[in-house]
Symmetry: C2
Subunit: 347 residues, 2 copies
């Protein structure tokens, strides 16, 4: 079905009926000039906005619309997670070119809503409009956090330990694989080939449907053992740089401590080594955080999948240490929208 | 200066230094994963998002960047006004093509910030990224309103009087004039010519720098004399249609009661008559609202520039009455993003 068959207001009505929610927390949702929401007493409101642009952040030849919806929600949920907050409601603004069908837009909302549903987040509003050429997605995520539990980028102190959740680099490797039309050729029938293709699928899935670490972020905030936190969206080196800059500190990272998935280590046909993807790949949506040494035991008791990768230092230098303890400067080599020539994926 | 001279993070830092604010109400603004805000007890949070796309909502050959920034803020402030709320904070997401300079983006923020400043709204966050072709602006405006004062679209009842603030149609006429390269020719030196060119400038200004009716919306909400409200963004007939649909009512509008500015009535070289612009022009950002008859005296005491244009009826019909009392159906002829072929301006 073409969008001009149902028109702008027909589309809004469809979205409202299928995916809109109103609740005690959001008594007025889609369909008025603004959504009206409740914020619990003693809580700070969190607000974050992220844009995804066709040809810059995504390519419709390498993602399905449902995954795109999922990912659009994920990148914003991850920002709320990085503040230690609980996501509550979401606004979605779309600029839609004529070639996109109503079914495709419905698929987008289905993917988005699947992930929002897992986190009990209400879709409360937004905007839909036309676009001359590219599909543009702009999501605003609102959340809340008890005032004293907010985790910012500026709390890291020299001596704090640097941790990261999950594994790094999978998403960037997945992007490279999904772009390589030949990767399908590797899906064979022998056991070894099956293992290989499973690994490839895992990496691609980590790129298309990243899992935001919302519950973990909340646990870190509640535990009081974390001094600074950020999500890894631009790439480890770049995001670590943000924390160091805002905290006025430096960092030593051990290259051989970086958490790498079995899939990444075993994947063939990649252009870089696993550590390269882990350092500057981006779009991992893992949480990077610092822990004062006397609170490390408390952190370990949380039993969250997190790995120590280095230590906060005085001064402003970011250094990468190898197994022999030799160091080299770690440059922020993540994605910069105005400096990189179309890597095709942002943060 | 080119954007790649300073990079994405250079641009963000510039915006933060020049325009970012943090206050008691917004203790964490630009520069972290999300903004943290305070909402006063007993207040509902209002949230609205609007997107402006180059080639669809605006054309850089007919607007300067500062006016574009102003307007981007205005359309969102107007949505908060239409709920009876007070705007508090703003997130700005931009997708920027390479041809746009740092100075142009700075001009955009300057215009935006001028209007935000008038309403004491803090710029607390957002996103900046690259775009292959078009400049895309997505603004999220957050505000608050005492819970019992929220004005929605659904409260109109048969017999309620229909009012609109200010004058209608100026913006649509201004758009037509600004697109007509010849309008400059009319700026002459005789008294008559000066009056004409002043009128043209006024109409164009109403298109480029609309004034959101924030204070008036707040006064209506406080007074308790308004039963339903919306802002006129898509066009009077279309927005009246939204109110009627959500309230389950109809409306009779008197064509000869519509408030028309002297500039609109005197402007020459327009393709339609003044009432045509007023009914379906769009982008007026005036407030359209309904008042129960027994509260009309209270409304008049507010001494706000508002004009009675009709009455709410039973049934669902929207009708336009002429001076002789003859009626014809009033069709929602405002802008639909997926049905109109590039009018070049949305809502």
């Amino acid at each position: 079905m073409r969008l001009d068959d149902i028109g702008e207001f027909g589309l809004i009505e469809r979205i409202r009926r299928s995916f809109g929610t109103s609740s005690k927390k959001a008594p007025i949702g889609i369909g008025d000039d603004a959504a009206a929401l409740c914020v619990s007493p003693g809580q700070s409101l969190l607000a974050t906005a992220d844009m995804l642009v066709e040809g810059v952040h995504f390519d419709l030849s390498t993602t399905d619309l449902s995954s795109l919806g999922w990912k659009s929600a994920a990148v914003n949920l991850s920002d709320i997670a990085a503040m230690g907050g609980t996501p509550r409601s979401c606004l979605v603004a779309l600029a839609i070119p004529r070639r996109i069908t109503v079914e495709a837009i419905t698929e987008f909302y289905r993917g988005l809503n699947t992930l929002l549903g897992k986190h009990h987040v209400a879709l409360v509003g937004g905007d839909t409009c036309g676009s001359k050429k590219d599909l543009v997605i702009s999501i605003t995520m609102l959340g809340e956090v008890p005032r004293r539990q907010i985790l910012t980028r500026s709390g890291a102190r020299p001596g704090d330990l640097i941790y990261v959740t999950g594994a790094l680099g999978d998403s960037a490797a997945g992007l490279e694989l999904v772009r390589n039309a030949d990767f399908g050729m590797q899906i064979g029938k022998s056991k070894k080939e099956q293992r290989r293709s499973a690994a490839i699928r895992k990496l691609i899935n980590r790129h298309l449907r990243p899992v935001p670490r919302v519950e973990w972020g909340r646990k870190f905030a509640l535990s009081g053992c974390v001094s600074a936190m950020i999500d890894v969206s631009d790439g480890l080196s770049s995001d670590l740089g943000h924390v160091c800059e805002q905290s006025g500190v430096g960092a030593d990272i051990h290259g051989d401590w970086l958490p790498l998935s079995r899939s990444l280590k075993s994947a063939q046909g990649l252009s870089r080594d696993a550590v390269g993807y882990a350092l500057s790949g981006g779009e991992d949506y893992e949480l990077l955080f610092t822990v004062p040494p006397d609170r490390e035991r408390k952190l370990l008791k949380l039993r969250i999948d997190a790995t120590k990768i280095g230590v906060v230092t005085k001064g402003r230098a970011l250094r990468l240490l190898n197994e022999q303890g030799r160091s080299r400067p770690l440059r922020a080599s993540g994605y910069d929208h105005f400096r990189t020539a179309g890597r095709g994926t942002g943060r």
